[in-house]
Symmetry: C2
Subunit: 320 residues, 2 copies
Amino acid sequence: MSEDRQITVIAGGVGAAKFLRGLLGIYPNELVTAVVNVADDFRLHGLAISPDLDTVTYTLSEQVNPATGWGRVGETWRVRDELERLGGQTWFNLGDLDLALHLYRTQRLDEGATLTQVSLEICTRLGIKAQVLPASNQEIHTQLKVQGQGWIDFQDYFVAQQHNVAVEDLRFEGIASASPGPEVISSLKESDAIVIAPSNPFVSIKPILEISGIAAVLRERRQEVVAISPIVGGAALKGPASRMLEELGFERNSVGIASLYKDIARTLVIDEVDSDLSQRVESEGMRALVTNTIMDTPTRAAALASAVLAEVSLAEEDQQ
Amino acid sequence: MSEDRQITVIAGGVGAAKFLRGLLGIYPNELVTAVVNVADDFRLHGLAISPDLDTVTYTLSEQVNPATGWGRVGETWRVRDELERLGGQTWFNLGDLDLALHLYRTQRLDEGATLTQVSLEICTRLGIKAQVLPASNQEIHTQLKVQGQGWIDFQDYFVAQQHNVAVEDLRFEGIASASPGPEVISSLKESDAIVIAPSNPFVSIKPILEISGIAAVLRERRQEVVAISPIVGGAALKGPASRMLEELGFERNSVGIASLYKDIARTLVIDEVDSDLSQRVESEGMRALVTNTIMDTPTRAAALASAVLAEVSLAEEDQQ
């Protein structure tokens, strides 16, 4: 297969992982690259934790907990329960199987491996044939300014406080000096199409786009870029994307998403329930592609992927 | 109870832990301090692991695996098995329950707590009333020069290679700049008696004695110091102590132990099977106290502790 049929997906966590699984069900896996957000990564108990990379990895290797969309199916909590008995921090709820991956990653990073190398090792080990690339090998830390608390770390906002507090501002510590991970820029440049997954535009996609050089490639390649709106009927299917739109001064719907992505993507995929927003998305300067975006089954995720492939003229030839 | 009945035990891992449990069975626990070797401590998977502290803690809280003398009773291996599936390092065999303690310790150290503080927190949590003090809060790393391999780390020698290789030399990286942990010197100075537990003299006791100021206190207080030989009939009950004696140029019996401890301890406790060595131990300038030193049951450990108490004139008054 020629290189010119490659697809790169800019990815956050759960929504991106579901889309990727759908795509891999209908497209040659070795032609798919995911560039995954690392700005949620953090250290806890000395362990290097990469939530979005792990959600993608677990989903693509069919190990994800289907009830949550993240974490491991068949997970157990032996370590966490003992840690609780010892009076330790258990707010992040590290499962036993999940912990093994963090131990593996931390050990490899301590030995001098890059996060990219670790990610490729894990994919090989788990039989994932798509390339899963960290957006950067440098540390980037999302922080949120939230009402009444000032600046707090992402995991405090997202997990400890269950994103149940108003966001006033965002910043990505370290991003000014971060460079894209190996193969990130080349995969974006060489892919036939680029997809922005239905992830949170502020805390999943933005900390990828703001890494030096990435947004520039998307602007250049705008004609081949398709973004999938994470908002359906004014609400995010998961997480705080919709309330953050409003809190940060955007419309709380796919028109708000269009205003964020219009310079870097030609097409915005919006859900059928939002077909009435189609014209307003087009007024923002994007093509609106209306289809089902709710990936509640792998079949529906594959159908969404299929619609995206058609939009970038890869559908007919490449569906398997 | 007055301070002058305090006892401090200089401790390594399994042998020391068994002696301490015996002692705590017959003596007011709050009067007992253990100064524990930290030169086996190391980082694995980013986690701070303190094998001797944990063996003592698990034993004193009745959580130790009775089959091994270290690790947790009822341990499970969920994380290790998954780590193995991922291709990670599993030579150290971290159990799930054990991992929880390492997560706790690593998190607290990362937050700025000292190892001493963490040790006291864990003791409080687990209901241990004796003081368990790390010998130092600085990092000390035992390395061994072994035949044909040069210098290797302690855990490589002890766990990965099962101490199945000849030792030519020893060194304790970092010990020159390490200072005793808080309360270590004061507990040695203020105790009515000091016991050197039946631990490996080279890799458990020596890296405590060589910390600045500790051997000097023992020399000053030699009349109140009792050492328990870890060698019974020419063999260590556990570990490589006896072969190391020979490899490093000492007699492979309690006379060899006496030649190591004669300047810092008045009495050497030797096992009944070695009663014929009694005079030779005394020729080295130590009192020889002959009794059963095999702590195969808590009752026998208590009997040994009782004999040690009698030797330092604490037995009559304090036995409970």
